[in-house]
Symmetry: C2
């Protein structure tokens, strides 16, 4: 049996009791560690589980999944995923491969950022499609998120923006010299995301949003140090100090809002007067 086990969002104790039983009994345990990360290290997990865990990086999962699935027709293999196992496309792939190999699959669900973001006070049923934001470079500034945000905003819906993480990225200079050296991990902040969003709006000028659009920066959702900061996109460009360490996410508000959302989120506003003024002008309460 292949078990896909969600680990939740924060630390070693966010695993479910059911998930922990699977981990303790499985023949082999893999940890998918490139689409998201927990806020604790591998060593903490290993100590907590009382056993060793093999890190499954992108290359292993995408090109060598048969090693992960080896003998899973007769043995139990646990594949641990931060958040919920079906948060990322990658895991659909491994289930399809397991089906081909006649390996039974069971999923142990857990909190995902896609539902955990509800803790910011916006109602989950008012969210449209989720988008991702990658680190821009001089030559690569993918803006497909813009069209989707625009679609959501056109019908008044909130947009969850998931922020890029870069783990185990090879250093290009070293690679050119024939050596593989990995860059330190990088996690996009809300400030970087807000700046990139405003840059793209300046290019496109289609008014999907602007510097005064309301948004919420979220940090370490589900953890003890969970932090939300609400403000305009412009204000959020400079709010990283308030948010603190990774992981960050951002929610751009839609203008079809509920009174409870206003009351709940206002608490997090950087400038409450400004927040109230813009809400009143642009965000109608149903």
């Amino acid at each position: 049996m292949l078990y896909l086990v969600g680990l939740g969002l924060s630390d070693e104790t966010d695993i479910t009791v059911k998930g922990l039983e699977v981990v303790k009994k499985a023949s082999r345990v893999y940890l998918e560690a490139y689409t998201s990360i927990l806020l604790v290290d591998q060593a903490v997990l290993e100590k907590y589980y009382g056993r060793s865990v093999t890190i499954a990086d992108r290359e292993m999962v995408e090109s060598n999944s048969d090693e992960i699935l080896r003998d899973a027709q007769t043995e139990d293999v646990a594949f641990l995923v931060v958040g919920d196992p079906f948060g990322a496309t990658t895991h659909t792939d491994i289930v399809l491969r397991a089906r081909e190999l006649k390996i039974p699959v069971r999923t142990v669900p857990n909190a995902s950022i896609m539902s955990g973001i509800g803790a910011c006070g916006l109602q989950l049923y008012n969210f449209g499609q989720t988008v991702s934001m990658v680190f821009f470079t001089d030559s690569w500034r993918p803006a497909s998120f813009y069209d989707r945000v625009k679609e959501n905003r056109a019908i008044g819906l909130h947009t969850l923006v998931l922020l890029d993480i870069k783990v185990k990225e090879p250093n290009l200079e070293s690679m050119a010299r024939g050596r593989i050296v990995y860059e330190p991990p990088r996690y996009m902040s809300v400030g970087t995301c807000a700046r990139q969003m405003l840059e793209v709006e300046e290019d496109r000028k289609e008014g999907a949003y602007g510097p005064d659009s309301l948004a919420i920066g979220a940090a370490r959702v589900g953890g003890k140090e969970e932090t939300f900061v609400a403000g305009t996109l412009k204000e959020l460009c400079d709010a990283d100090d308030k948010l603190g360490p990774p992981l960050h996410s951002l929610v751009l508000l839609g203008n079809r809002t509920h009174e409870l959302e206003h009351d709940f989120v206002r608490e997090f506003a950087i400038d409450k007067d400004n927040w109230d003024r813009i809400w009143k002008e642009q965000y109608h309460t149903q």
Copy 2:
């Protein structure tokens, strides 16, 4: 401290280790039992936790929340919610009330149907806003879901439809005679939902979807007996036998799909040839 603890989707072992520690230590434990249910009884939970649990019905949570929050400035109170604590609007309300009373609040997230539905093989980032479907009566047939489904479909997105549950509903005849007798609980099935959807389309005739639109019926998501059945809305009207006992949910597909979604979901199709034909005609793969 008020702890909002998510219980996940299925049975007593879906609680997180962190959540279980909170339940074991809290002064009082309440279980919100009207927006969703687990697939196990209260008695199973009480035995598992080793302590008694007070059922918090709608009246208690909405009109008497100060009893739940009593002394939570100095004691720990655990408020257990099936799924994730922020899946339902109600729980935003209790947090706001706690803030007024200067009670600190902490959330223990867990799987929600809004992320757990990813197990059906559709990508979570391709979902639009979530809608609810209530039991129609002769005089009450609320169709506000229709406009939202239409908005999602117009931009190619999937729609998760959450199905009505009726627990602790008073019998109206007995109430007229001055006695309160509660009806047995009722849980909407995928078949009822599909029929109601098609009735509303027949009234509205705006083409948000039709009998040949593709959908997935989901039963007991996250549980051992998790079942998915894929077909047209018309086919799903008669698929309740295949799906089995509650809880059910339904996903109406958007036509902006990913190849992996096709490969994954096809496995669940009632009539694979029909599924392939309609997919090819109406659902373009990106």
